[in-house]
Symmetry: C2
């Protein structure tokens, strides 16, 4: 069953490219139009049959039923005013940005059919070459409804993500940004900081511990700078909360308080086991 | 070729059990004796043919040629004085502790044939049930020579680890502990602290980022408390160095300094790529 006639994906990188690919493979739309500022990206997207048509400007979008903004957060906000001018009245607009409050505040006012999403999928890799039609299979997609709560748009976006293989959960934008600052954005800050701290001459002694802990420090700095700055208040709180917990462990080590140290680590390990079994 | 006649492995957990298993499979010794305080561990070790004989006391060791101490760091130090009384004069003593300076200072004085090692292998899992004969294949084993630099013992231990499939590197104990505080012990502290910080209600929104970053927070708290405390000075320095680097990122976020933020992250990412390609 086709969910849409024409779909436009703006930003055909890892996430946008994977959405396009999955929509094509599952025949969820008649046509998929890809937009990117990079010609190379569009050539690859066409070659792997992720998109039917390539465009380079928002003004060339045409009469699409759905626009998915899959660029970095800052670019989503820049594109919104242009989008309003060109789309038809009932066109559904969605985005896959990693922070939601700022985007919602800019898009929801002028785009009545806006529904935000955040697919919890991806990796440290970026770009269309890593796109996979099954990227969202078994993943979770958070949906953050717009201010006006347009139920037609909400249902359509929910169906889309279910058809892409994701489990859908609803969360308001403020709670989303708090949650993600802890489970995603903070781990990224820590991974980058840890790589900064480790001296080059010690890298050769690294085993899987450092490798796993810092895998996400290979992520795109431009993309993540946008995420950190668009979730600034929560990030500062998350870093400070972490700093206090780290200070507790530091103090236990300094005071040679083995009991305290083990107690902290046991609680952390139990929570990690809970995460493993979720 | 047999490297040893009788080998005793004290502490037949993940590392000790894997050494025993690999020695047996590769026929590097005529007999392997396993020591553990836990009867269950010894029963499993015998069942999977990691050891030929099981003992529960150091006093029952007999005339072995090599003793490998594979218990937590604190226990290695406790066992050393008992060991001195029972082993024959030319018996080689080695250990696989994750910190080396404290162990060396306690063992090297009274055990002339002591050579420390630290195989950079293992995982968050512990116990004989996770033991694998190929655990050290392609891994790095750091060898920290004893004070008296007994060349016969050094050669034998080097040969042993090469036969177990490891690349051998030599490092003095002080430099080992500094290096490992950065590439292994600090990541563990951060993983435990991060799990402490993340609220239970947010766990369900975690994707692979948090999972990878905190995999090692599932490690044994008793084992790691020993490691942190036996490498206390370096740990405090490592945490403070990391704290300063984290504060830099925090400040860039607070000041909305995107250029600074990206510059920090690019350097970190480049170092992470270097690590990937090592």
């Amino acid at each position: 069953m086709k969910l849409f006639n024409k779909v436009a994906i703006i930003g055909t990188g890892l996430i946008g490219g994977s959405i396009a690919l999955a929509i094509k493979r599952r025949r969820l739309a008649n046509r998929v139009i890809g937009l990117s500022r990079r010609k190379k990206t569009l050539i690859i997207a066409k070659k792997i049959k992720a998109i039917d048509e390539a465009r380079s400007r928002v003004s060339e979008l045409g009469d699409v039923d759905l626009v998915v903004l899959a660029t970095p957060v800052g670019r989503i906000i820049e594109l919104a005013p242009q989008l309003i001018k060109v789309i038809k009245k009932d066109c559904i607009v969605s985005d896959v940005g990693s922070t939601k409050q700022l985007i919602l505040s800019r898009l929801s006012r002028n785009l009545p059919n806006y529904v935000g999403t955040h697919p919890l999928a991806g990796s440290q890799n970026s770009g269309i070459v890593f796109a996979r039609a099954d990227l969202f299979e078994g993943s979770t997609c958070i949906i953050t409804p717009g201010w006006r709560m347009n139920s037609r748009a909400l249902v359509k976006i929910t169906l889309l993500w279910r058809r892409l293989g994701a489990r859908v959960v609803y969360l308001n934008a403020a709670e989303h940004d708090r949650a993600l600052s802890m489970v995603s954005h903070l781990p990224h800050v820590l991974a980058y900081s840890l790589m900064t701290s480790v001296g080059n001459k010690y890298l050769k002694y690294a085993a899987s511990g450092l490798r796993d802990t810092t895998r996400i420090a290979a992520s795109d700095p431009y993309l993540w700078a946008d995420i950190f700055l668009s979730n600034r208040e929560n990030m500062l709180k998350a870093i400070d909360l972490f700093g206090a917990d780290l200070a507790d462990m530091r103090q236990a080590i300094e005071k040679r308080d083995k009991r305290k140290l083990i107690s902290i680590m046991e609680k952390a390990r139990d929570k990690r086991e809970k995460l493993e079994n979720l």
